[in-house]
């Protein structure tokens, strides 16, 4: 924006520091503290601040839950005991965790390349559509069906993010808006399918026909779905990719400063493409995990809440794949608890969204105390 008056202000400040200084507000004589940027903080104090932020977030969440009608003395019981120490509920958490881990990893990988992939839900939808298409059209022999569904989910998720990636890298189109718009389009296409030609002919409900037994992720011992194993394997691969491989090193360069990375011979574009496409592939896998692991068919609203959860998991985990796995487990526990609160206390499921947001707000705000400190200064001007 080349507004003459604006330029005048900034030029005045640059060319005439004397005048700028006169105009500057003098610090109050009574001010005793000054804010300054902290260069470094030990990990112990960082962890302490993080824990405090989490506690504040949980306290606020508890207050909201009590206000919404959950008895205060039942809260701890519901969340901790029922969720983690009850065998059946713990299995439910693991069940829920598989797609959560995958979207969390998808978010972390894209954000590491400075690409705000808010299209996780769209890619998830396409992953599930791809897997369902293989089942619907009975592509391939039976023993190969599940691997083919797996591959189709990866391919579809990857293709759905290719457009925004290309638009961002070639034309500089804002990926936040483009990926979000593609979410809404994917959601409408899903509705088109489940209300249209893919509707279950048996009962005419808006979902696809049920997958056959060999098209579903098998159950391991003790009622644990193999989806969680799949998610764990992907998490390990992501950890290797980010932490050990050469591509991960490149990614760290790009994350730190794309221009310097380019000057140092890092293939910046290829690195970004790779990270973003893998992110889409992982989100597609999350769709596969829900369709072939949980629902056993394509349903109309299976993706809801995963997109934002993935972003928040990536943020809370600082884009670290292993941390993302742990955070995703906790978010899955929150989802499971949310469903039981919905059943027992008629608390709407949106409560889960609210609590996630409260915790993110607290953790994001706590960064301030890690990056800054208050320093006592003398009574006179402290500049």
């Amino acid at each position: 924006m080349a507004d003459a008056s604006l330029v005048a202000i900034s030029e005045a400040a640059q060319t005439d520091p004397e005048a700028a200084h006169r105009a500057r507000r003098q610090p109050l004589a009574g001010r005793r503290y000054a804010l300054e940027i902290r260069q470094h903080m030990g990990w112990r104090r960082q962890a302490l601040i993080l824990a405090a932020a989490l506690l504040v977030g949980l306290a606020i969440s508890a207050a909201i839950l009590v206000a919404a009608g959950v008895p205060a003395d039942e809260l701890a019981n519901e969340f901790v005991m029922q969720t983690f120490f009850d065998g059946q509920n713990f299995r439910a958490v693991l069940f829920q965790a598989a797609p959560m881990i995958l979207v969390g990893l998808a978010g972390s990988l894209a954000f590491r390349a400075r690409f705000w992939n808010l299209g996780l839900e769209g890619q998830m939808i396409w992953g599930a559509i791809g897997a369902t298409a293989v089942s619907m059209w009975q592509i391939g022999p039976e023993p190969l069906r599940l691997p083919l569904m797996f591959a189709a989910a990866i391919g579809c998720g990857l293709l759905w993010v290719l457009g925004p990636a290309w638009l961002k890298i070639r034309l500089g189109v804002n990926e936040i808006i483009s990926t979000l718009m593609l979410n809404y389009m994917a959601a409408n296409f899903l509705l088109h399918l489940v209300y249209g030609s893919w509707k279950d002919p048996k009962d005419n409900f808006p979902y696809s026909p049920q997958f056959r037994a060999f098209e579903r992720l098998p159950e391991l011992g003790a009622g644990v779905s193999s989806a969680i194993v799949l998610a764990a394997v992907v998490a390990l691969v992501a950890w290797w990719l980010v932490g050990v491989s050469r591509a991960g090193l490149y990614l760290r360069f790009v994350d730190a400063n794309p221009r310097v990375a380019h000057a140092n011979g890092v293939p910046v574009r290829r690195t970004i493409y790779g990270a973003v496409l893998l992110s889409g592939a992982m989100a597609g896998l999350a769709g596969f995990a829900v369709a072939a692991g949980q629902e056993g068919r394509l349903t109309q609203a299976f993706y809801q809440g995963y997109g934002f959860s993935g972003i928040l998991i990536a943020f809370l985990a600082r884009n670290n794949p292993l941390a993302a796995t742990v955070v995703a487990l906790l978010v899955a526990a929150l989802f499971v608890t949310g469903r039981s609160l919905q059943v027992f206390y008629q608390v709407p499921f949106s409560m889960v969204q609210l609590i996630q947001a409260v915790i993110v707000v607290c953790v994001a705000s706590s960064d301030f105390f890690i990056r800054h400190r208050l320093r006592r200064v003398g009574g006179e001007a402290a500049q």
Binding site: M1, A2, D3, S5, L6, I9, S10, A12, A13, A20, H21, A23, R24, R25, A34, L35, E36, I37, I64, A68, G69, W116, L118, L167, L171, G172, V173, N174, I176, I177, S178, L180, M181, L182, Y184, M185, N188, F189, L191, H192, Y195, G196, F308, L312, P348, S350, M351, Q353, L354, Q356, A357, V358, V360, V361, A364, S365, D367, F368, R371, H372
Partner: protein, 310 residues
Amino acid sequence: MSGSIALNWLASTPDFAVPYALAALGLIISERAGVLSLGAEGLMLVGALAGIGAQLALGQPAVSLVLAMLAASAVSLLFAVMVIWLRVNQVIAGLALVFFCQGLTALVGSLAEWTNHATEGIGGMALWPLSLLPGVGRLFEQNAMGWLTLPIFLAVAWFLSRTSAGLRLRAVGENPQAADAAGIRVAMWRLAAVLAGSALVGLAGAYISVVSTKLWIAGMTGGRGWIAVGLVIFARWSPWKALVGALLFGCIEALIPQLAAAGVQLPQYFVMMTPYAVTLGVMVWVALARRGGDDEPGALGQPYVREERR
């Protein structure tokens, strides 16, 4: 397409365009001060819910709209504290705000049992004497809020480009270091811009619930807030271009029911994709057309850290 359908189409366009226009205008105020406000979708929901709540309780549309503005401003205070004082990444803070508002509005809406209760909205207001014109007179029968949108645009555009306060606001978004050096209180201006902008975004949401649909459903804004964010980029942060863009989007959305009424069979869910597809198309077009000058506020999305001042 016969003449009467075309007329119906044009006459119903403003109703679809007003929420986009008001939300984009609100976003322009905040982004001109350098605060990237991705929370619009959430704030629209807050406005929509507060508006319908007030409408169910009091039954006064004007009061409901004002209360909706206040509610959206109040919620955006949380965002403002995060990005202005705590210097949280504005994208993360905006996303968290959307998530927070989606959860909060769905929760409050269902606890207060405001869901799916129809209310009385605002009736039409004929712009005399233009409304007496034969044929096209119908175009000048819009609701009062629709008409009010024009003076709001006039006032904001005038404020931003013609007043010294508007100049200060833009200076804060363009170069906060220089603005601070010139004695402008960066944080206060940014706070004011976020609160005022959010009030307009809330009004846009309340327009949808109180004036257009006249009821509340969780998540009823359906991505309009995000489209408004895209619209601001399309408009290059200029209020008048945003108004044109909003009318364009309104035209497209208004066309859909008209085509259905005319008996044109279109695949329903593909039709529902059009606003998002058009937004995407517009973003690509803007990127292709943008050669040379870039009018994005210089410090958009960057926290101002006084301690780092050199």
